[in-house]
Symmetry: C2
């Protein structure tokens, strides 16, 4: 250094890669810029990655061209994406939220998980924990006073109808305020979540509460964007469920009771038609006691079989998509 001071080495470090074996034409119009970027993707050795860069370039440049994106809009986009990244922490993923509200997460899920004959999948979401209590069939996943009683039962079955005994069922949901237990400060034990197992006939059953619709985080740039789009930030109420059984593809899904006012406008496009379920109202004091509900004469009943696909068939199926 001619002035003796040290430059900041982290700023300007050449990566040591030589100029490409071709010379890009010097651009005198926008089309040459796009062609030059496309040409540069040829340097990527991995064919899948090369295809991804080419497809990103094609659509990114088409977007800019078709919208005649202004410099000011480009600057706003840069600032917005920066804020999205900076909102992320180890427990908050604002970029997933951004992907969610544009339907991108749901589209990736749908393309990668086409119907196989098994119960359809749904995203895991940010509220799964691994500390759910181990319960017996008939137990309640919710403590008293957490909401309207609901009994959930059915059988875990293979796609050919064979019962699957001893499958592990993890289930979790909001209470009647729309909050998951982890959203309360000072949470000491799990609530509105449980882990149980199907019996020798594949049967499972547990007490729960009717889950309640709730908003996705509204305090970040994605929440602001939804307001700018004049869109609510609510998800319809749903009951999460994960089923693990030896020899079967793990099922991660959720069931959406019909009738929720947000079910046809889920902020994250997470509802699938086959996962919408009916809740039966049972008004029978004897039946309520028999099911284990301590008070009242009424509860909702959700009858839902959980259909799994054997791993071997699943591998063959997904190798074809």
């Amino acid at each position: 250094m001619s002035n003796g001071a040290e430059p900041m080495p982290q700023w300007a470090v050449s990566n040591g890669i030589a100029p490409p074996p071709f010379k890009l034409p010097l651009p005198d119009n926008p089309d040459i810029i796009t062609a030059n970027m496309m040409k540069m993707t040829e340097l990527t050795l991995d064919p899948r990655k090369r295809f991804l860069w080419q497809t990103i370039t094609k659509y990114l440049h088409e977007f800019i061209r078709e919208t005649k994106l202004t410099t000011k809009e480009w600057e706003e986009a840069i600032k917005f994406l920066t804020r999205v990244g900076q909102k992320c922490t180890s427990t908050r993923q604002e970029f997933i939220l951004l992907s969610d509200i544009f339907g991108a997460s749901a589209l990736v899920d749908a393309l990668n998980n086409p119907p196989t004959g098994a119960t359809e999948s749904s995203v895991l979401g940010p509220f799964f924990t691994d500390d759910a209590p181990d319960l017996m069939n008939g137990d309640s996943i919710a403590s008293e006073g957490k909401g309207e009683y609901m009994f959930v039962e059915g059988r875990v079955l293979s796609i050919d109808g064979t019962p699957i005994p001893n499958a592990t069922i993890e289930t979790w949901e909001t209470d009647d305020t729309g909050y998951y237990d982890v959203q309360y400060s000072g949470r000491e034990t799990a609530d509105c979540r449980g882990r149980l197992h199907s019996d020798k006939n594949g049967y499972y059953g547990y007490r729960a509460v009717v889950p309640v619709a709730y908003p996705i985080p509204g305090d970040g740039p994605v929440g602001e964007l939804l307001i700018g789009m004049n869109r609510h930030n609510m998800r319809p109420n749903h009951l999460h469920c994960m089923v693990v059984a030896t020899g079967f593809r793990t099922l991660v899904t959720a069931f959406y009771p019909e009738g929720c006012k947000y079910i046809e406008s889920d902020a994250v496009f997470g509802v699938k038609k086959s996962l919408v379920v009916g809740l039966e109202t049972v008004k029978d004091e004897g039946e309520a006691r028999k099911r284990g509900f301590p008070t009242g004469d009424t509860f909702k009943l959700l009858k839902q079989d959980l259909i799994l696909i054997p791993e071997k068939q699943s591998s063959e199926f997904f190798a074809r998509i």
Copy 2:
């Protein structure tokens, strides 16, 4: 709250917007997800924004569909974008860098700044400062020992050829190590930058050094991406220039000496054909002294007029694009 504990209000806050007046069909295939997202954009009141959301949705979903983006690739994209956002600080803009290396910044610039007859524009870049010293024509912007001598001169002219007196010219460049002054720790005064004015005939002239090619920041996710793409991270050498004159559109540009080995593969696609310039080698001791160079008998000469467009014509021109 039924358990008396406080939920974290920042997590789950409804934005109070009602469900839309339409009901989206419940998706049982990927196309319905895309159609539903498109339908939701109709809620955006501002027509320009609505068009932007629709175009983003179209190309984002097309990208996912055409590439059959896998869940793992989607997860990697989320992680990458998060890292890009988290690399940004008040002095480091990694998202602009990402836009740069995909040619998006250059494309936005080219579409928004088509040739008007004036000298073409180039991006301001991150190295402009407002503390350049005020100099007289003939002065040097570089302290002694900063590189190979270069004399820059020409006239500031209107697009009809009329000289523009008293235009302010800000100019800045790297020294011969490829660093800008602000990249040295302990910088106390500006170097390799200056502010001067055209004389009554529009003439300007100053001493400088031949700038040197340099890398864009390589210590972040964008630097890693370039390596993954097998692309160097170098920009060809260039001299920045900003010209401000009353009644004229401000010109922000840069000149790229021909012959740099990176000029046909600029990492950020910033070179424009009309901004590539020839440097004349002058070997004449008398001429070197006359120009003010204290030693040697050789210097480079860059003769470059700076053409501005009157504001009125510029407004009319840009209203049409």
